[in-house]
């Protein structure tokens, strides 16, 4: 080694045990000398920014709705397999807002949540900001869509059935029911995201613990019988509310409320989902008018 280290060898400092330990800890956090030497040799050069890759989405003439979906379902415009996405997909179809679909994941979304809509590029405004799902109603209104909502006092109450009772049962039956998780959720959300077994294991653990945390927010324990019986009662109440009408709240065209309930009923009744534990599906099948309601929407807005 070069001789510039020699003077340290010549006069070794008397080290106490403590100072030795602190020196070691400092050593641990500092950059190791060989790497530092390497870095010293590398000149700092700033390259111009890269071109966007060929497959990067180009501004399109039609707005794009980013949803959870399979690639083969995108072109055909088939329903998404995620209830949150399906609700807004159905809403845009009902409102008559032309859009195309793109299969995506939460990581693509600026808010971390799907769905979101990227507006069309040829509109006069240069403001091409993504539209989050809670702004989609306003977007549809602004772009000439058909938007009408019931002002019934029952609206909020029955919506809470969907957003809490049925959603909780859905979370349990999809993520925490082991047979359904491996048969339905695993291929849709985990296997499609990565082929690495470590990433898959961590992803499925994340999904399951997120569902569990969501359910434990409102009760101190996950009471499975209670979840299913409350969902059963919720479907019963919705079925009574619909009665013999075509659409909810006696409207002559379907509304956002019909889209929200369709998001769950369609996925529970869709045979392609391949449910293993069918408890929730069975409770829904008992309400005939809800089954017919779903059928009507599939025929009218998803091409049968």
């Amino acid at each position: 080694m070069p001789s510039n280290f020699s003077h340290r060898d010549a006069a070794p400092k008397p080290e106490s045990k403590f100072s030795k330990q602190t020196a070691q800890i400092q050593n641990f956090f500092s950059i190791p000398a060989p790497i530092k030497t390497l870095f010293d040799f590398v000149p700092v050069l700033v390259y111009p920014p890269n071109e966007l890759p060929q497959r990067a989405p180009k501004p399109s003439r039609i707005p794009t709705l980013y949803v959870f979906s399979r690639e083969e379902d995108i072109a055909a415009g088939r329903p998404s397999f995620n209830p949150g996405c399906l609700k807004w997909q159905a809403f845009l179809n009902i409102a008559g807002v032309k859009h195309r679909l793109a299969a995506s994941s939460n990581h693509a979304s600026p808010s971390g949540q799907l769905p979101f809509l990227l507006p069309a590029a040829d509109t006069s405004n240069t403001n091409l900001l993504p539209v989050r799902s809670n702004q989609l109603v306003k977007y549809a209104e602004d772009h000439g869509g058909y938007v009408e909502e019931s002002t019934s006092m029952r609206y909020e109450a029955y919506r809470s059935l969907l957003d809490h009772r049925i959603r909780n049962a859905w979370l349990y039956t999809l993520y925490l029911e082991p047979s359904n998780f491996s048969a339905v959720a695993y291929p849709l959300y985990v296997a499609s995201a990565s082929s690495n077994p470590l990433v898959r294991a961590s992803l499925s653990h994340q999904l399951r613990s997120a569902a569990e945390a969501e359910l434990l927010k409102n009760s101190s324990i996950i009471d499975i019988d209670d979840l299913y019986s409350e969902a059963d009662k919720a479907f019963e109440a919705l079925s009574i509310l619909l009665g013999d009408d075509q659409w909810f709240f006696g409207c002559d065209k379907p509304t956002l409320f019909d889209a929200s309930i369709f998001a769950y009923t369609h996925l529970l009744l869709d045979e392609k989902m391949g449910w293993k534990e069918q408890k929730l599906c069975r409770t829904l099948k008992r309400r005939e008018n809800l089954v017919k309601h779903r059928k009507r929407l599939v025929v009218a807005y998803f091409g049968g």
């Binding site: 080694m1 070069p2 001789s3 510039n4 280290f5 340290r8 060898d9 070691q24 050593n27 641990f28 190791p32 000398a33 060989p34 030497t37 390497l38 040799f41 600026p110 808010s111 900001l129 989050r132 006092m153 029952r154 909020e156 109450a157 029955y158 809470s160 059935l161 957003d163 809490h164 009772r165 082991p178 047979s179 998780f181 491996s182 695993y186 077994p197 470590l198 898959r200 294991a201 961590s202 499925s204 653990h205 434990l216 927010k217 409102n218 009760s219 101190s220 324990i221 996950i222 009471d223 499975i224 209670d226 409350e230 009662k233 919720a234 019963e236 109440a237 919705l238 009574i240 509310l241």
Partner: protein
């Protein structure tokens, strides 16, 4: 057999501090004949199989959660003690829907008003737990309840009510667009956004309006929420939530104020029905049947609810609950305890997991072990941990020698990487002039010697 209803203790002159407990009390008061049930202010959720109060005890059978209690009562009495039996179809559906509505929209309001708001929590809510629980428990329960309340209301973006979290940094994610891409424009929204109190107040008013509005409309001119004649389980639930919003006297009174100002009919209904069902204000002396200091005259609460003295199990019982609560709050142990609870209740054996989830847990454990192993290996390599029988040899030089074979290889690479820099290094090491200055202070003045190598 006397049924025992175990609840959280009384607060704010109401029979319980928890809306579900109030609902259960109202239900039993209306459905179950007097003398067949007793009310006990245990304030210990560990008693119940679902780890929540209210809980109903019938001999050795424990039923937890107010919905389960309603079902059990119907079963136990062969359909006699049921409130919702006489409802027509549409009213029955309304009962289900509005029960869900009251729970999902009322809970955040109670959470915000009693627990998240720092002023209300520290001056009013937390001290109440000292009166309803025995000694070491109030150290654990209120913070746990508050943490749960904060989690439930986190999505509302109202953490400005909670002064503990304000550490100078602006709260509230007004936009998901990065700051560098945002347009700077002074709008009404941006002006309001600068003042978190006003924003919070506006949001709270909207939340309160969303809750009270549909309820007031549903009630209309009827005597009860659903009909003129039938007192339903929805009335019980609504009474529980509305009383806890209206009655408490808090430093921050926004919820009760909004309710009194905009929904006077709902207030009158709540007060009247509360008087009728709970029979006037209740306090801690009613619940524990202790004698009052100023005499035995109660404010009228004693006669209407069948209170019984709670058995806390003495020092050992309280100590056990205390340790259980502590165990629940330790990260890994608490998770295990909670998992066991879910499994027991779901009736699942630990062995019926699927192949795939077994495989997943094996990979998870494997990666964990590998990670820990790599970290330990690095520590060994760095010399933080050394085996006792093999003390670390003295290092003679710093630099690359200290990294063993890998270091030697790297040093060769580094030394030969760039000939120009190598030369430069050589100049630094040998060629650069080094000046040494010796200063001698002696009797004959100052002598300076300069040696340049």
């Amino acid at each position: 057999m006397v049924l025992e209803l175990h609840v959280w203790g009384p607060a704010f002159s109401l029979a319980s501090i928890d809306p579900h407990c109030l609902a259960a009390i109202a239900y039993l008061q209306q459905a179950v004949p007097r003398g067949k049930w007793a009310l006990i202010a245990t304030s210990d959720p560990a008693l119940s199989p679902t780890n929540e109060l209210p809980a109903l005890r019938n001999g050795d059978i424990w039923i937890g959660g107010f919905r389960n209690i309603f079902y059990y009562l119907a079963q136990y009495s062969s359909g006699e003690w049921v409130l919702d039996a006489g409802l027509p179809e549409l009213e029955g559906a309304d009962c289900i829907a509005f029960s869900s509505f009251v729970e999902s929209h009322g809970q955040p309001l109670i959470d915000l008003s009693l627990y998240v708001s720092s002023v209300n929590y520290t001056t009013t809510t937390r001290p109440i737990y000292n009166t309803i629980q025995s000694f070491p428990l109030p150290y654990l329960t209120p913070p746990a309840v508050r943490a749960a309340a904060k989690e439930r209301t986190a999505h509302l973006g109202l953490s400005s009510l909670d002064l503990d979290t304000q550490d100078g940094e602006p709260q509230g994610d007004a936009s998901f667009i990065p700051a560098s891409l945002r347009k700077r424009a002074t709008t009404v929204t941006s002006l309001i956004a600068q003042n978190p109190e006003i924003t919070a107040r506006i949001k709270l008013d909207v939340l309160a309006k969303d809750f009270f509005g549909p309820l007031q409309k549903l009630k209309g001119k009827k005597r009860y929420l659903l009909s003129n004649t039938t007192f339903s389980s929805l009335d019980c639930l609504a009474l529980g939530y509305l009383s806890l919003m209206l009655v408490p006297e808090l430093p921050q009174l926004w919820l009760a104020q909004t309710m009194r100002k905009k929904y006077p009919e709902l207030c009158a209904w709540t007060e009247e029905l509360g008087q009728q069902i709970f029979g006037g204000p209740a306090d801690i002396d009613d619940a524990f049947l202790t004698t009052r200091t100023e005499g035995t005259t109660s404010k009228g609460g004693k006669s209407s609810l069948p209170w019984e003295v709670p058995h806390t199990g003495g020092m050992i019982g309280v100590g056990g609950v205390f340790l259980g609560n502590i165990a629940d709050s330790i990260p890994v142990v608490g998770q295990l305890r909670r998992n066991t609870r879910m499994r027991q209740h779901g009736g699942k054996a630990p062995g019926d997991e699927l192949q795939s989830s077994n495989w997943q847990s094996i990979t998870t454990i494997g990666s964990l072990v590998a990670g820990v192993g790599m970290f330990l290996g690095y520590m060994f390599h760095q010399g933080f941990i050394s085996l006792p029988e093999n003390p670390e040899p003295e290092r003679n030089g710093t630099g690359l020698d200290g990294y063993g074979d890998a270091g030697a290889a790297l040093s060769i690479y580094a030394n030969h990487m760039d000939a120009g820099s190598q030369q430069h290094r050589g100049v630094e090491a040998h060629g650069a002039p080094v000046a040494e200055v010796d200063i001698d202070v002696g009797s004959n003045g100052v002598k300076v010697t300069e040696i340049v190598s």
